[in-house]
C-alpha cells in the first residue's frame, strides 16, 4: 500500500514531463524510491548478517567434556552427563569496561543444549570494532517467567519449564553416578527460580586473556570459544558432592547456590588461533 502511494506521488510531482529522457529520469527516480522503500521495510524484519560466533564448550580438568562418557569429578566421584542445557541471552561486547555494544541475534534467548551440536554456538551481529569482553546473561527475565504460554525457545515443549511451580529451569544437568543413592543412581540439577531472594538470573562479564582483544568487522566472522569449567562448578562457592547432593529440582536456596556455582564456572573467553 505504501509503495503504491509513493508511485502515484512521484507522478504528481512531475505531471507535465513529456520529454522521453526526462520521463526515463522520472521512472528511474520512482524505481529508486520503490527500491529504497523495499530496502527499509526489509531492514526492520531481517537482522544484519552475523559477524561474531560464540561457541560454548564444557571442560573438566582442562579438557573438553563429552556427554555420555565417564569422568571423575574434582572429588574423585565418577560420573557421566547425559543432559547439559541452559538459557542465555542479552549478549554484548565491551572494551575495558566501556559501555558494551549490544549483539543482535535471531532471538532474545538462546537455549544451549550440548545434546544438539547446532545449538551450542550463538551467531550475533556486533558493531565493528575491537573488544576484550563479552557480557552475557544467564537465566530468564521475570516478566517472561509469568507471561503465559510461549513459543520458540521458551516453548514448554523444550523441557525447561516447571509445570507445578510456573517458571523456567535456566540450567539443567542430568547424569548418572555410582555415588548417587537416587533411583538408578541418577543425579539431576534443575536450577531456576525467579522469586526473591532466590532469583537465578545474572549478567556475567567474561574477559579475553590479558592483553588480547578480538576484532569484529563486516568482512569476516570472528569466532570465540566460551568454556564452562565443571571443576569450578563442583568446587564453587558451595562445593557440590554428588553423593551428598544428588538432586536439586526445585527453586529455592539450594538452587540459588548451584546457580552461583554455575555462573562461576564461566572462566573467560578463548580466542582460537586463525588457521
Amino acid at each position: 500500500m505504501r509503495r503504491l502511494f509513493f508511485i502515484s506521488a512521484a507522478r504528481d510531482i512531475y505531471p507535465a514531463v513529456s520529454k522521453p529522457d526526462a520521463l526515463s529520469k522520472t521512472l528511474r527516480l520512482a524505481c529508486g524510491m520503490i527500491l529504497m522503500i523495499i530496502a527499509t521495510s526489509f531492514r526492520t524484519t531481517i537482522p544484519p548478517a552475523p559477524n561474531l560466533i560464540l561457541r560454548f564448550k564444557i571442560t573438566l580438568h582442562g579438557q573438553p567434556l563429552e556427554l555420555h562418557k565417564d569422568y571423575p569429578d574434582p572429588f574423585g566421584e565418577s560420573f557421566k552427563l547425559d543432559i547439559f542445557r541452559f538459557y542465555t541471552g542479552k549478549i554484548s561486547a565491551g572494551l575495558n569496561g566501556a559501555p558494551a555494544e549490544k549483539g543482535i541475534s535471531a532471538s532474545a534467548y538462546q537455549l544451549i543444549d550440548f545434546a544438539d551440536s547446532n545449538s551450542t554456538s550463538v551467531a550475533l551481529h556486533i558493531k565493528n570494532g575491537d573488544y576484550n569482553e563479552i557480557h552475557l546473561r544467564l537465566g530468564i527475565d521475570s516478566a517472561d517467567q509469568t507471561s503465559g504460554a510461549q513459543t520458540g525457545l521458551l516453548d514448554p515443549l523444550k523441557g525447561m519449564f516447571w509445570t507445578w511451580n510456573s517458571g523456567y529451569i535456566c540450567f539443567k544437568i542430568e547424569g548418572v553416578s555410582p555415588e548417587s543413592n537416587e533411583p538408578a543412581h541418577g543425579f539431576a540439577y534443575h536450577i531456576g527460580g525467579y522469586r526473591s531472594p532466590y532469583q537465578t538470573i545474572r549478567t556475567i562479564k567474561l574477559a579475553t586473556p590479558p592483553g588480547r582483544t578480538f576484532h569484529v568487522n563486516k568482512a569476516e566472522t570472528t569466532i570465540l570459544v566460551i568454556p564452562i569449567d565443571l571443576d569450578r562448578f563442583f568446587q564453587g562457592i558451595t562445593p557440590i558432592h554428588i553423593r551428598n547432593t544428588p538432586a536439586c529440582t526445585t527453586p529455592g536456596e539450594l538452587a540459588h547456590k548451584l546457580f552461583e556455582n554455575f555462573a562461576g564456572s564461566f572462566t573467560g573467553i578463548e580466542i582460537p588461533d586463525k588457521r
Binding site: L4, G148, A149, L157, T163, W164, N165, S166, R195
Partner: protein
C-alpha cells in the same frame, strides 16, 4: 487501487467472521479482570476449541482423563464428592480439585499459588504422572493426527498449525469464560430477589465473621493463610512454602471462593471436611495452633449453633444454577442431549 482495497476489506471481513469476539461481561460490582485478554482475545472459535479440548480424553495418556474428569460442571467444575481426584492408573491426586469459575480475576492458581498464569495451568495436570500422565509432545502429535482438530485450530487462530501455545491459549479461552455471578446472592445484590428470614441473619454473620478473608464479590481475597489444618502425615503438604521456600509460608493455602460452595464438597486443600458443618466446627473449636496460624484464628471463630445454622442457610444463596446448567459450558459432544 480500488480493487486492492475491496480485496483487503473482504479479507478483513472473513477474518472477523472466524474471529467473532466472544463476549466477556464483567458482572456488576466485580473489579476489572486481571487476565491479559489482549494477548489472547477470546473468540467464539477459540472458545469452542478450548471447550472441546477440555472435554477430550486425548489430553491424557490413556484417553480416560480429560480435564473434565476432575472438573465437573455440575460440581461448579470441582470433583463432586471426592476428597482427592482420581488419575491415571488408579492413582489419587495430591490435592482436592478446586472449582473453576471467575478465573479471570485470579493472578495465581492452585492451592499454593504455584501457577503464575492461567495459560500454563493445564500443563500441571496434563504432565503430572498421578493425573493425566501425558507428555506435551504426545498431545500435540495426537491432535495433529486427529480428523477435526487441524481445521479447528486453523479456524481459531487464523492459520494452520498446532503447538503448545495454541493448545494452552484455546483451553484458557474456555476456562477464562467460566463466570459465575448469577446466584441468589447476586440477584439480591441486584434487587431482583430478597433473602429469606434465615438467609438474612446468615449474611450478617458472614459479613461479621467470614468476609475479611472470603471477600465479596469474589468471596475470596485470594491470599494464602494457615487456617489451622495440621498437615496430613501421608500427604505432608505444607502449601505455599513448597512454592516460595519460605518458612513463613508453611501450611498456608489459598483462600477458596465460597461461590457454589454447596456443590464443591468435600472441603479443604485435602478434602478433609465432608460437610459445611464440619468446616464451621473446625473454625469454632478445631483450629490447630502453629507458628504461621492466621492471626485472626488464634482463638478460632466463635460461632454458636444458631450462627452455624444461619451461615449455612446464607451459603446456599451462593449456588449459581444458571452457571452449572449453562449449555455453553457443557461437553460439546453431549450439549444437545438431555442429562
Amino acid at each position: 487501487m480500488k480493487a486492492m482495497l475491496i480485496i483487503a476489506l473482504l479479507a478483513s471481513c472473513c477474518v472477523m467472521l472466524t474471529h467473532t469476539p466472544f463476549p466477556f461481561v464483567i458482572p456488576r460490582g466485580f473489579p476489572p479482570p486481571v487476565y491479559p485478554f489482549e494477548k489472547n482475545p477470546v473468540t467464539r472459535a477459540g472458545f469452542e476449541l478450548g471447550r472441546k479440548l477440555f472435554y477430550d480424553g486425548k489430553l491424557s495418556i490413556d484417553g480416560n482423563f480429560p480435564c473434565a474428569s476432575c472438573h465437573q460442571q455440575f460440581a461448579a467444575f470441582a470433583t463432586y464428592e471426592h476428597r482427592l481426584s482420581h488419575g491415571y492408573n488408579n492413582q489419587f491426586s495430591y490435592r482436592n480439585a478446586p472449582a473453576l469459575f471467575n478465573l479471570a480475576w485470579q493472578k495465581e492458581f492452585h492451592w499454593d499459588g504455584g501457577i503464575s498464569n492461567l495459560e500454563v495451568q493445564p500443563l500441571a495436570p496434563m504432565l503430572d504422572p498421578h493425573e493425566m500422565a501425558e507428555s506435551l509432545g504426545h498431545v500435540i502429535s495426537k491432535l495433529k493426527q486427529d480428523k477435526q482438530y487441524p481445521a479447528l485450530f486453523n479456524k481459531a487462530f487464523g492459520s494452520p498449525g498446532i503447538n503448545s501455545q495454541r493448545i494452552l491459549r484455546a483451553l484458557t479461552q474456555f476456562t477464562v469464560s467460566l463466570v459465575s455471578a448469577n446466584s441468589k446472592y447476586d440477584k439480591v445484590q441486584r434487587g431482583e430477589a430478597v433473602f429469606t428470614q434465615y438467609e438474612k441473619p446468615g449474611y450478617e454473620i458472614f459479613q461479621q465473621k467470614c468476609a475479611a478473608c472470603h471477600k465479596e464479590p469474589l468471596f475470596t481475597d485470594l491470599s494464602y493463610r494457615n487456617t489451622g489444618l495440621a498437615a496430613d502425615s501421608t500427604l505432608k503438604d505444607y502449601g505455599r512454602m513448597r512454592i516460595t521456600g519460605r518458612k513463613e509460608d508453611s501450611l498456608k493455602f489459598r483462600v477458596p471462593s465460597l461461590r457454589n460452595v454447596y456443590l464443591t464438597f468435600p472441603y479443604g486443600h485435602d478434602g478433609r471436611f465432608a460437610t459445611l458443618s464440619d468446616v464451621l466446627d473446625h473454625y469454632s473449636r478445631g483450629v490447630t495452633q502453629s507458628a504461621t496460624l492466621d492471626t485472626s484464628l488464634r482463638k478460632g471463630i466463635p460461632l454458636s449453633d444458631n450462627d452455624k445454622f444461619y451461615l449455612i442457610q446464607f451459603l446456599g444463596t451462593l449456588t449459581d444454577t444458571s452457571f452449572v446448567n449453562n449449555p455453553l459450558f457443557k461437553d460439546p459432544g453431549m450439549a444437545n442431549s438431555n442429562p
